[in-house]
Subunit: 315 residues, 2 copies
Amino acid sequence: MKKSIVLGIDIGGTNTVYGFIESGGSIILHEEIATHGSMPILDLVGRISEKANAFLSDNLDYSLIGIGIGAPNGNHYTGRIQDPPNLSWGDVDIVSIFAKHFNCEVVLTNDANAAALGEKNFGLAKNMKDFVVVTLGTGLGSGIFSSGKLLYGHDGFAGEMGHISIDYNGRLCNCGNHGCLESYASSSGIKTTVEELIIEHPSNKFLKSLAKEKIDGLLIDKAFDDGEKIARKIYEYTGEKLGQGLAIVSNLLSPEAFIFYGGFSNAGERILSSARTTMNQNLINASEGDIKLLQSGLPKGQAGILGAASLIWSK
Amino acid sequence: MKKSIVLGIDIGGTNTVYGFIESGGSIILHEEIATHGSMPILDLVGRISEKANAFLSDNLDYSLIGIGIGAPNGNHYTGRIQDPPNLSWGDVDIVSIFAKHFNCEVVLTNDANAAALGEKNFGLAKNMKDFVVVTLGTGLGSGIFSSGKLLYGHDGFAGEMGHISIDYNGRLCNCGNHGCLESYASSSGIKTTVEELIIEHPSNKFLKSLAKEKIDGLLIDKAFDDGEKIARKIYEYTGEKLGQGLAIVSNLLSPEAFIFYGGFSNAGERILSSARTTMNQNLINASEGDIKLLQSGLPKGQAGILGAASLIWSK
């Protein structure tokens, strides 16, 4: 008898990860490819299909039972990716497109929800019922578990923690509103922080090196560890703003933990330490230390595909 | 055979409402008494017990099967009222106290959760799965339903919407933090607004009359309807701040509706109109009009006792 297998896909603004996953969470194949968000969606679908079909032809003992997809602005209820930022696809019925290519069940959720499902089924949140996964990348996303269930809201769009305002007189966000958490605590937010700091410190070499290109978190991590004052200032400020957002979410949802995932979560305690201090100062009920801030233990790119695949496995 | 009946109790900072409720939500007896929060808790328990026992002795066809209680800082998980503001009781195991007096099952939740349960079982939210009940009184409380379930969080303290900050540089709240929604959108918040406006308009008679005593919402409602400019200013400002809070909650939870309950929710559209405008300006996904702002249709004091009683009936 053939072994069942699920294709998990995590679509990102820059790269897409996909992999074949067995029911226990073993990843059989695992690849990262460029998303090419400026091309039509069928370009990405075609490239994934080709590789996936090749794998299935070479591995006849496996039978594909479904596809789970995590994507920015992916709506679990409608099966559509709706006007994702950084991708030119508009509003696409991605579930139907994949179902047509593979003739199997396809389920969609957004990328942060997929990461949260990955943590719940295979990561740090295995024994948690109330937690929030925060994805820190170009933007800031979140997947919220409450009473053991992923929270979708009325229309499937719950979890937009990146767009809660921590300062209605604050930074203009890409979304058009002011003071969104994402405009401070994300790599694009850090870029703005660097630009603001350069005005204060026009001759600082480290800031100049950062401002040249896309923000490189590892570069700031290293400078922070080397005692570079401006690197500490960047992360303290970012952590303070992040902590303000965490306090708002905590007062509303009382989670057991926040789990941080994605590129710039690698900074870990360098940012989380000041985030924790600010969060604790602004809680109404919880005592200091009640709410844990944790770094995901899942390898880069895996939480998303594991979580996306679990949409099928948990059916 | 005796008919089953539940005692529903809604403890407030100033007054307490209790009533006997049948399984379909019919209220048989319904009384409001002073809470006397400066007296020991046993004073209130004694007065309720006396009246309730008298009722049960006079109505031998009823059998008390349980007591549901809603109270400020009431924790569903621990059965304790934990250091409620405006009440001098400290941390009391109210479930055990009532269970000892009545020898039946007793279940506790906080006052805003009780109101939310009332709306879900007997009010506007009967057909809703995702909604938030906001209680507007001396403070601002909230009970959150998500996917058809009341959201308690890890420790039973979820739903502190009154203490999400809408301005970390804003007003000092009674809780010690800054910019809490409650410090703007509640009767105590409006009192502060009036005090601030008096500095700007020292000779305004309407403001002076308001500042003298406890804020009377009906007085502001009437002045608003009569075209008094300052009354309009008070409600527009309050609505704007409320709308900022609603936008934060909406971006996080995507509810179908907010339902407003409690004394100062009587202002209705006088406040909700500007709240709606501000909320809609700050949403990331929902289109204008997607999220409804509604006034509770349940009579004063009933949502709390109906919801508290449903804690027993829904078992």
